[in-house]
Symmetry: C2
Subunit: 507 residues, 2 copies
Amino acid sequence: MPTTVNGKKEIPFKGVNKYKPKGTKTSPHISSCIDYPEDGNKVVKNLREALKKAGLKDGMTISTHHHLRNGDAVTNQLFDTIKSMGIKGIRWFPSASFPVHKHLIKYLEDGTIHHIEGSMNGPLGRYTSQGKMNGTGVLRSHGGRYQAIQDGEVKIDIAVIAAPTADPFGNATGDRGPSACGLLGFALADSEYAERVIVVTDNLVPFPCIPWQIQGNNVDHVVEVNSLGDSSKIVSGTTQVTKSPDRLLIAEYLAQFVEEAGIMKDGFSFQAGAGGTTLAFAIFLKEKMKKKGIKARFIRGGSTKYLVEMLEEGLTDYILDGQTFDLEGVRSMRENTNHVNTSPFTSYNFHGKGNFASMLDCVVLGATEVDLSFNANVVTHSDGYLLHGIGGWQNCLTSKCTILAIPSFRDRIPVIVDEVTTLVGPGELIDVIVTERGIAINPKRKDLLKIMKKSDLPIKPIEEIYNEVNELCGGKPAKPKINKNKVVAVIKWVDGTLIDSVVEVEE
Amino acid sequence: MPTTVNGKKEIPFKGVNKYKPKGTKTSPHISSCIDYPEDGNKVVKNLREALKKAGLKDGMTISTHHHLRNGDAVTNQLFDTIKSMGIKGIRWFPSASFPVHKHLIKYLEDGTIHHIEGSMNGPLGRYTSQGKMNGTGVLRSHGGRYQAIQDGEVKIDIAVIAAPTADPFGNATGDRGPSACGLLGFALADSEYAERVIVVTDNLVPFPCIPWQIQGNNVDHVVEVNSLGDSSKIVSGTTQVTKSPDRLLIAEYLAQFVEEAGIMKDGFSFQAGAGGTTLAFAIFLKEKMKKKGIKARFIRGGSTKYLVEMLEEGLTDYILDGQTFDLEGVRSMRENTNHVNTSPFTSYNFHGKGNFASMLDCVVLGATEVDLSFNANVVTHSDGYLLHGIGGWQNCLTSKCTILAIPSFRDRIPVIVDEVTTLVGPGELIDVIVTERGIAINPKRKDLLKIMKKSDLPIKPIEEIYNEVNELCGGKPAKPKINKNKVVAVIKWVDGTLIDSVVEVEE
């Protein structure tokens, strides 16, 4: 584990709830209305002009958000522009990157981008794993990204915020417009703390843009473009429930577990993502809730039409939503005041006065690997490649009952391992593992073990599932060929400390 | 004009748009979730306990908001508690004080409160004018208060936020509950920048309190009390339109002026307060808009039932509201997403990246005095007494057309004077003065003079109205007996510089 990353000293992980920050939050320069148009019109002719006015220089930190997901055209266009301006050595600080950003590899190669700090899903992760990036990747959770910005660990020089609707003053929303993505919470910290903020929109409306998820009072320039990207890839019209019998079984186990453990009770709360298994879980849970006449107080999204149905059918008072995964989620957020726009600040920031994540009665997450002490990995595969971001995963671990829903093997490679390739979540925060071959409860959760004693569910020690799967798959995963001396990326814990690193994979 | 106020060096007024701030915004310490309950329950047993936990000490700065207006019971109870804890020398930093806070005079006398920084309406202003307060009063506009907090001029140690509805995590709203006051925008800066934040509520609801006008992630402690105060004085059920023939005439002139000057056109915006004259103006304007089929893009509140009717009848797309003055305003804000909660940050902060105030096509304000150069006073009377706060008045002066609606005399004292008792607004920002005896256009506004050339309205040089009124009243206002050497309060301009001071009145 390095002590210095990209020339900056880092604090090593001290253990869960062991490291407390000192000092004050960071803050940008004080602005003055003297420097902004009195009529509120901050529109400039194009991105190049906006970047020039924002004082773009070599070596700056530029941030983007990932609400447009794999439909994002703005970030690629942004770096095309930066390249055309002859600027070098940018630290790109996205809230996440997607396969569409493969386009940027050429800019990593020609030095336009020095390195990426942010989750890397797919090609950029693979590129990084191959040791090709100049600097070291830094991966943070959604909450950790807010924390890093707030604490001044990462100073954003220019934030570029793609906005599905905006007004000339810079007020912006994601819940409407041809490129609607629901909300813009991942860009909140950027808008608050960056020195300069540029809003890019393909749907400019007269002031005021209501709601103003991003506040124009934090915005310097507004740029109008033809399109933010491919709207079919920004949100999918449909979100697919799993059809795999194994994963359906996991979903059934999950719902039954949540019911039998007494978590599903009036006024409870849960969070489940948009994966095929967790969608199926939500559907099973909904049936159980209806049957017993139970209503949740709130459900945390990533919202989908399944959660929206629960809200509209009165099975929950609120959806507290961090991102909308389908068109129904977008519609609901736009139309229903009980479908509430949240942000990494409210939900996940560990350096706040509490956050929502720890209040959840139950959260269901995935993982790429889990070890026998329940330590889990969510960023690399057993082959060593960095292929996924952290998302809100680390932040969610503080819920009252954290359940990992995982197939016991993938492509004949066991998921329960001796040692995780990358430590992303400490086992002490993971309460339950649900696989199609059985459910393992963390021995620390004596209360859960006791409650579930009489359950029909296949509750087993984790070692039992481990042995069974190793036998089935013909042994443990093969160790990847790695270069231990070359750290290509580091993983931050929610408090800004360094919990693990990722090393080069040799091909 | 003093160069030092309460031991702190001050920058003198440099002229409109002449002073630009340096440095970065202030920021509170970095918190950690380790120090907050994981279940989100921050409720402590009473205010004393909360103040103790917040580390209350002699000499601290304690802030409150004035959304409860003259119905506020929390502030008085707060200082009763501080007194009972034996604490001395508090700087009280309210967004404004009201006659109900007369109760606190005893704490100014016994040293519990050292001095007040904030608008003083009524008894506390009189007390200050009499030279009885230990420190010097500092009056700021709503925007200036946000600016002062943001820029670190005033460091709030503990913010106490009375909240008509709140949850145990500290999320709070003003738009519902037995003490509903509409919104809590005046407490926004306090919640963001104070070191410790205490929410006091008489309507504790389960998490989440939606909407969260104040975000629990900024809150340290929550206190439940029986009542925030006298709800009939928090918002009145009715807001009175003037019945005075003179003031009705002013209102008619105002509406006709706005129409003839071409301000009233499709997509326009205006702001008018809740005084009897401006209410009548809004009613007259509404009729004109209906007649011509004109729709506003937005109206800025202080909202009343008259503005709500305009919204509901489709005469405006939005109300952008800074405070609700009656129950209809509260209801509308709660029910109608186009009745939008704003704050001094969005509307008035001069040290932001623009604000809403300068985008207004027209704003109608009052004044206690105006001089022949259109300089105006809004805090003292001609007898020298400090009896009013600044509110958003200074901030609104940047609108495209700022109109002061004033009776030409009050209690036989002329309102147009040789020299204003206190300079609060520079004449170059004031475009028009409308009195019952005539309308004066600032000679700087040649465009308005030209447009209005053919108008039937009694447009006259300001000197003409001045002479007419002086004659009618039997001369200029008598000069008050003052002690020029004793500054009792200072007036800040929107950029934090010192624009004028108020001196002791000798009785």
